[in-house]
């Protein structure tokens, strides 16, 4: 019997608030979340702080579904959260664009 999953859905406002190809940091329920808007329009959402030394990933360089941390250039896959360095990975969240808005799904089990 599957257990109940609570999904908090958050509207982060217009996608245009994030310049093409860049990321931006939102604070949802006291959690820093980085949302990325790749040039092809795809949205990604991850934890904002780099597991290496808390670098702000939202300020990183983005492309081909990857982000590069601005501090020491560790890389992370935005789809899966897996990192380039051994046992470094980040939390990813469901996010989509609906009617020009960024809709983020935070599920806690």
């Amino acid at each position: 019997m599957a257990k109940a999953a609570v999904t908090t859905t958050v509207n982060l406002g217009s996608v245009n608030a994030i310049p093409l190809g860049q990321g931006r940091c939102y604070v949802v329920a006291n959690q820093e979340i980085a949302v990325f808007r790749q040039r092809d329009g795809t949205l990604f959402a991850t934890q904002n702080r780099c597991p290496h030394r808390q670098g702000p990933l939202a300020e990183g360089l983005v492309g081909s579904g990857r982000v590069i941390c601005p501090l020491h250039a560790h890389q992370f896959n935005l789809q899966t959260g897996s990192g380039g360095e051994p046992e470094e990975c980040i939390r990813v969240y469901g996010v989509q664009e609906i009617a020009g808005n960024i809709i983020l799904n935070q599920s806690q089990f």
């Binding site: 999904t7 859905t9 958050v10 940091c25 601005p70 983020l104």
Partner: protein, 854 residues
């Protein structure tokens, strides 16, 4: 004496060990000095459980570092500081130590080692040291014996040595005796002008006595120095207040009653003194071996496994004669101890000692000294390279034989000693520019070839990667290119200065280095090297990074390539370039340098390092208003406001009312200057005015990497212009020298002289020309120092000064375009370039909470 009590914790009554277990083989070590203790350490490392170990030591202590006795004598170290193996070490390793017990002989028939306890305060190394009559003889049965009895000081024939006031210099007790006696003396004499004699003299000096050194030979330190160096050392030492007399042979120590009055010399002259320390060389201690019927020549004769003629008895250290050689330094002893440990534990039955070449680094009375191999030429075709600087007591001499170092002497400055020693010991072929051997290469590039280095040598100093690890990466993990090796070992991924060595190792392993085109790509994500990439971009008229990916990388937007491409496009199309901010590194998006905590640093432009009270006040006000955690003077002659929040940046800039200093980007950074003609009494050129002209003209001009400049009003170079990416130095006659490719950061390199010109305008002209050429041909993130190493100054002179390619006019026009395209990025404080450019984290609230039972 007080000295005694200090040492009581290190002294033992004779049974400092633990009970024996019957099963293990029993190893008895005769001699508890540097060799004996070292070999036991080596054995324990290899096979901690293999032997029951018993050690005899004539000195009543655990093992100490004899080398440091000099410090003990001159008071810079306590006797207790120099112990390598305190008694606890013996206990912890279940070693039974008979300290203060002297071995008389080995009874090889009964297989026992026989020891006689010594009287306290008897001379441990003396052939007839007084034994303690009430203590009984100690016998230890053995399976193996290691003899490590070292050597004793040698005393040349002279009347009156041995009685009160005469000393030797070999043990802790000797130091104690000398120090003790010196208290009541005015004058002390050291007989022997070798290393130890001089150390003894230095030690005595610190006890406030008037010291004279007597040398029988014509110079000091005959063993390590040639006459000239010896003479220089002599002057340095006399300058310290020590008298030296060479060619002086002592025949008699004359006394009045017990007290020494003076010395008498062979030439009939005399010298008044109160005490005498003799340090005229050493002789191996061999009685034990002789009385045990082992082969003894000058010392105990051993084979390449350190075995004596009895297969169960080994020897190590100064008491050994190997292939006719005896040694008086520790390095060979460490090698011997390794081999012996390999053999006796069976860890490596093939281990063999082939003798040592001697390279020593010494500090004689604070004078740095390195000496190796021959001190004078032997063959007619030996090549001798000498450098003298008497004023600073510097002397360097090389003897090159058959393209290798046969010997070297370095006095006063031993910078290059370690490289030379490595080359000497490894028989490395020396470079054709002999000067490099003494002063290092101008570029600071290592003289050593990777193939000559031992496996454990560290190749990458940034990431601590050894040659061994690199070879593994190549042979085991199959890395065939430098970049793959970097990816797998991190070697070369730091400052990169070791890449050439890595390449060498690769070559050595796989013969030809596999050609890896990706190493030549301008950026990893676009498969083209720079010139091809540039022409593609020009021909297709590509003006934006996203277009480059679309047209030249089938749409794959490699994030790690974005920044490099942006900088290139800006260089190619200064005014038409379509600036996509996502292609910029965060620093260039917000025109400030990101810090470890995500805040930013702000460095406003201060032209030529000259500011004003007015500017300083504005900086102060901003610092107060935004409570800036740190305000710091930078190494670039400006002021850094550190720890500023992203969303404060625009206001900070506005209120500063100063343009950006570009301290965050790959572009023209600063032009430092010295006071020059305005105030300096030496100034021959107006360096400040020039620096400000340069900075006004080139500020913000992008380039493959940072460009840091400086101007100096004279060759004293107070602004470090010689070691800048570009530097202008004023010389007599109102001329300016232009240097390029200097560096004083992670690498250090003196810039090369591009040309000498007459006016400020010419400086601007040639500097601009060089910058543009570097902008077009430098690899991304290649500093000018790397660029110059790659292209070469001659080539550059031909192109930029002689206009051999006829492109100077174009270069001048291009750089002018770049200059004209400049605008102060901090103006974006007024109109942000894109929404939320400077906004921090955005607060968001939950819309709805959906329950779903899935």
């Amino acid at each position: 004496m007080g000295f005694d009590s200090v040492l009581s914790d290190y002294r033992t009554n004779g049974n400092g060990g633990s009970e024996l277990s019957v099963v293990r083989k029993k190893l008895v070590v005769v001699g508890n000095g540097m060799a004996g203790a070292r070999v036991v350490e080596e054995i324990l490392q290899r096979a901690p459980e293999q032997f029951d170990i018993v050690m005899f030591g004539a000195e009543p202590y655990g093992n100490y570092n004899r080398i440091l006795l000099s410090n003990v004598l001159n008071g810079s170290q306590q006797a207790t500081d120099i112990f390598i193996n305190p008694l606890s070490w013996y206990r912890d390793n279940r070693i039974r130590l008979h300290a203060g017990v002297k071995v008389s002989h080995i009874d090889r028939r009964r297989r026992v080692v026989v020891g006689i306890p010594l009287k306290r305060d008897s001379l441990a190394y003396s052939a007839n040291a007084e034994s303690d009559d009430d203590a009984s003889v100690i016998e230890e049965p053995y399976d193996h014996v290691i003899i490590a009895t070292g050597s004793r000081p040698f005393v040349p024939p002279m009347e009156g040595f041995g009685a009160e006031g005469t000393f030797l210099f070999r043990t802790i007790d000797d130091c104690a005796r000398i120090a003790d006696f010196a208290k009541n003396c005015q004058r002390a004499t050291v007989i022997g002008g070798g290393l130890l004699g001089l150390e003894a003299a230095r030690g005595l000096l610190s006890h406030g006595v008037d010291v004279t050194v007597l040398e029988a030979g014509p110079q000091l330190m005959m063993a390590q120095l040639d006459p000239e160096a010896g003479d220089m050392l002599l002057k340095t030492i006399e300058a310290m207040g020590i008298h030296v007399r060479c060619n002086t042979i002592t025949t008699k120590i004359a006394r009045l009653g017990k007290r020494i009055t003076h010395l008498e010399f062979r030439d009939g002259s005399t010298l008044e003194t109160d005490m005498v320390v003799v340090s005229t060389g050493i002789r191996p201690i061999t009685e034990v071996a002789m009385l045990s019927g082992l082969n003894v020549n000058r010392a105990i004769v051993c084979d390449d496994q350190m075995r004596t003629n009895d297969p169960e008895i080994f020897a190590v250290g100064e008491c050994v004669e190997h292939r006719g050689q005896t040694y008086g330094l520790v390095d060979p002893i460490w090698e011997q101890a390794n081999v012996l440990a390999d053999i006796i534990t069976g860890t490596n039955p093939d281990a063999a000692y082939y003798g040592s070449k001697l390279g020593t680094k010494l500090k004689v009375m604070g004078v740095e000294l390195a000496s190796m191999g021959a001190t004078k030429p032997a063959n007619d075709d030996d090549e001798v390279v000498v450098y003298r600087e008497p004023a600073r007591g510097i002397y360097k001499k090389l003897i090159v034989r058959g393209g290798q170092i046969a010997g070297a002497i370095l006095l006063g400055d031993i910078e290059s000693a370690s490289t030379l020693t490595q080359m000497f010991l490894g028989n490395v072929a020396v470079p054709s520019r002999r000067a490099d051997l003494l002063f290092g290469t101008p570029s600071g590039v290592s003289l050593l070839k990777a193939s000559d280095l031992p496996d454990n040598a560290q190749i990458c100093n940034c990431n601590g990667v050894s040659k061994k690890q690199i070879v593994e990466a190549i042979e085991v993990k199959g890395c065939q290119t430098v970049s793959k090796i970097a990816a797998c070992t991190r070697a070369g991924s730091g400052c990169g200065s070791c890449k050439s060595l890595v390449a060498q190792i690769l070559e050595a392993c796989v013969g030809e280095v596999a050609y890896d085109p990706s190493e030549h790509y301008y950026v990893p994500g676009v498969p083209l090297e720079k010139s091809r990439l540039v022409s593609e971009i020009r021909n297709r008229g590509i003006k934006s990074v996203s277009e480059v990916f679309a047209q030249l990388a089938d749409g794959r937007e490699d994030p790690s390539s974005k920044v490099g491409l942006a900088s290139l496009l800006k260089t190619l199309w200064p005014d038409e370039y379509e600036d996509e901010r996502d292609a910029r590194f965060i620093n260039d998006r917000v025109h400030a340098n990101i810090q470890r905590d995500g805040t930013f640093s702000v460095v406003p432009r201060i032209y030529g390092g000259v500011t004003s009270a007015d500017e300083l006040m504005r900086i102060a006000q901003v610092a107060v208003k935004y409570n800036v955690p740190m305000v710091k003077l930078t190494g670039g002659q400006r002021i850094d406001l550190l720890g500023i929040r992203k969303n404060d940046l625009p206001n900070v800039w506005k209120e500063l009312g100063m343009p950006s200093g570009h301290a965050y980007t790959k572009a023209f950074r600063t032009c430092k200057s010295c006071v020059g003609t305005d105030f300096c009494r030496y100034g021959v050129g107006d360096s400040i005015d020039l620096a400000q002209k340069i900075e006004r003209r080139f500020q913000g001009v992008e380039s493959p990497h940072k460009m840091k400049l400086a101007t100096a009003g004279c060759p004293r170079n107070c602004s470090e212009a010689y070691v800048k990416d570009l530097g202008a130095v004023a010389i007599e006659g109102g001329k300016w020298e232009i240097y390029v490719g200097g560096a004083a950061g992670g690498s250090v390199r003196k810039g090369d002289l591009l040309c000498t010109v007459d006016t400020h305008d010419d400086v601007l002209l040639y500097m601009g020309r060089f910058m543009q050429y570097y902008r077009e041909h430098g690899k991304y993130l290649e500093r000018t120092y790397g660029f110059l190493e790659r292209v070469g100054i001659e080539t550059l002179r031909q192109i930029l000064v002689d206009d051999s390619l006829g492109i100077c006019a174009r270069l001048d026009a291009e750089i002018q375009r770049a200059v004209d395209a400049y605008h102060d990025p901090w103006q974006e404080a007024e109109i942000p370039a894109y929404p939320a450019q400077f906004s921090g984290p955005e607060l968001a609230y939950a819309l709805e909470v959906a329950e779903n039972n899935g």
